[in-house]
């Protein structure tokens, strides 16, 4: 079997786009940017960066994430590459897509607005330039599958959260309702939650405060080591 590249084969450029998910407390949000400069000035796009021929894709995404969120240690996973010829007018570009989960916070939101990015509910993402619609749809599917098997709440929820919040997260992510009692039984049986002893009132109208929980990271490490095939829902 022969694999002989000719100089003419080295005529492709690389880019990476990242689908970033966050949870507001009652909605699943995703990050959308707008394109500066022609072509497609002002079009909605996914946060995207060029991968120069001497760069490793993962490093480029991480630096993009650092730029957007101030950190690059969020859970990050490669999706498919989108590589149909001539998807980009400037020449042949292969887009190596990633998806990423972040923990929302107020200063995170502020820094993003400054960079021309916005958080949009996943139920309301606009149509985008290039083939970013396809990338977004693909990421959504991947995310749904991950939610069922991995405790995504570790990243998506604030450090302390209520059982109602985590239930709402799962309902948003999977697009269906759960029975409150069954949900709590299941999530508590996993032994991954620790009651912090703190409470919070979920709204001004709410009288009784909710108990706050946090994840037991040590227990999670132990469980993932012996095969992370934990089914959640």
């Amino acid at each position: 079997m022969k694999i002989d590249f000719t100089p003419a084969d080295f005529n492709v450029a690389l880019a990476t786009s990242v689908v970033v998910y966050g949870f507001s407390g009652d909605e699943l949000l995703t990050l959308i940017a707008q394109k500066d400069g022609e072509p497609f000035h002002g079009a909605h796009i996914l946060p995207t960066a060029i991968i120069r021929p001497d760069q490793a894709p993962e490093n480029v995404v991480k630096s993009l994430l650092r730029d957007l969120t101030g950190r690059d240690d969020w859970p990050l996973e490669q999706l498919n590459s989108f590589a149909n010829p001539y998807r980009n007018p400037s020449g042949r570009v292969v887009n190596i897509a990633y998806y990423c989960l972040v923990r929302l916070s107020d200063d995170l939101k502020a820094s993003l607005e400054a960079r021309g990015c916005r958080w949009i509910p996943v139920t309301k993402v606009p149509s985008m330039a290039y083939d970013h619609d396809e990338v977004m749809a693909y990421a959504r599917e991947r995310f749904k599958r991950r939610v069922k098997r991995r405790p995504v709440g570790f990243t998506l929820l604030p450090r302390e959260f209520t059982l109602n919040e985590i239930q709402r997260l799962y309902e948003c992510a999977l697009g269906r309702k759960f029975d409150k009692r069954n949900f709590r039984r299941k999530v508590l049986k996993s032994q991954l939650l620790i009651e912090t002893g703190n409470t919070v009132r979920s709204s001004a109208k709410a009288k009784r405060p909710s108990r706050l929980y946090m994840f037991d990271e040590k227990k999670y490490q132990t469980l993932t080591l012996k095969g992370y095939d934990i089914v959640y829902f």
Copy 2:
């Protein structure tokens, strides 16, 4: 957000490698090629093809599969892209990997030998050139996950097969044993198998013949349409 490519960015080449799985009846096999020409002449590699700048990756893989197996309509799925800089001495090459399931047959085996390819038990794959070890390991993980959720037997098994054969397939694929009675109950409950009425003797020594079954493709279509989240094992 700016995305401006310069001519210097168009200096990457694309290749695709495919991990092909087949089932011999008592072993899971995978397809390995050998490299012709320097560098790495004679090294073990995955079946690989160059993607010219005007070609769609999926078409290239399909034509590679047609070349190897005479058909290109096997279940095919993109894996990650392997794109670390300088993984190939000729310059920067991005490898878009795929994995594929085929139904083994005698003439398929013959045509492959002619092309310098060999079927190797997955438990005995040798170390390979480039980063093909990494690709292979990644494919193996993906395959294990798929086996648990999708009826891979549709493709991997002959049109008619015995319950012992399908059990052996699952045991190979997942690397563990199943209880014969429980396995049969489960696989028959799925309603995806039809008894053909035919029988076969599994070996010369076997006296009693085994019953043959086939998959009910129509029922499978129906089930997949309403969410293919069928858990097998």
